[in-house]
């Protein structure tokens, strides 16, 4: 039998089929665990958050819009729950930095995949010279434009562009080197 789509599963759950929810859980729990573990670095906390995420989704399943992408929705719920957990723990880290999301894209599933490489990027970033690191941080993490970076660092626009290009090349080299 062909595997049922998310939409079919959700419609079935909305019609009272509890087993379909188990299918949904098996489909997403590992992906969510990886995503949340990347944020919390704590396995038991990640499991707790994943449990809460699924439980919350089940409670509100009748309100889930089946026409919208479910993967995005579930990551959004998981992210919100993780944030409230981290808030509860009075984590000092800036939440946006934790998630590496200055601007959260709609498709959190894709973000989750990207995030797998985030730690590597952070490590590589620390190996860069300060002048390159600050350009990367402002442009990518603070989401500033070239002009705004130039203004913030009192540098000519072209210098910012060149530094950014060099920084990206250096990062790529470091990451590739570490892969080997």
């Amino acid at each position: 039998m062909a595997e049922r789509t998310d939409k079919e599963l959700i419609v079935a759950i909305q019609k009272g089929d509890i087993e379909s929810f188990e299918n949904l859980v098996t489909r997403y729990q590992n992906k969510l665990l990886i995503f949340i573990y990347g944020v919390t670095h704590d396995k038991s906390l990640a499991e707790e958050i994943v449990q809460d995420t699924f439980f919350n989704i089940y409670k509100t399943i009748s309100r889930v819009d089946v026409e919208r992408k479910f993967s995005s929705y579930i990551y959004k719920v998981a992210k919100n729950i993780a944030i409230s957990y981290l808030r509860k723990q009075k984590n000092d880290l800036s939440l946006n930095e934790t998630f590496g999301l200055a601007a959260v894209s709609d498709d959190l599933y894709e973000d989750a995949v990207k995030k797998e490489n985030q730690e590597k990027v952070w490590k590589a970033l620390n190996l860069l010279e300060e002048k390159y690191r600050e350009v990367i941080k402002l442009y990518y993490f603070k989401d500033l434009s070239y002009k705004e970076v130039a203004r913030a660092l009192s540098l000519p626009l072209n210098t910012v562009k060149i530094r950014l290009k060099r920084a990206k090349d250096a990062l790529r080299r470091i990451i590739n080197y570490e892969k080997q």
């Binding site: 019609k15 009272g16 087993e19 729990q29 499991e47 449990q51 439980f55």
Partner: protein
Amino acid sequence: MKNSKLTQKIMKKVVTFEKKRVIIWILRAIVLVFGFGLIGLIVLGFVSQELARTGSFELLTLFGEDKEVIAEFWQETVLTFWEELPKREVFILIFSLIITIIIIILAKKRWPIIKRKINGLEKYKKSLNNKNNEK
């Protein structure tokens, strides 16, 4: 990572929650239907008693007469009967009847979902029992 345990934990939570929700739904439906039904019956009893006391039911014997007699007097009879009805009680009776019907319609509409949930809960209960026995 092995996550069948996590799935079980999640499903256990869901099943417990759903069990509670289904029980509450059933109890609420029963209480509402029987509650409004009972109110309706009590009021109906009162109205009947009142009509019997005033002898208003005798007015309705007109409808056992010949057609010509009925045609001539039915409007007047119905009007008189209406006049003698205890209005407030009749409104309560109609209101509780409408509410009971609405609740029954809504419950009937939702029943297939609840039934499916009950079947699902039964299955999970069995599988949990089997797992406990295996242990």
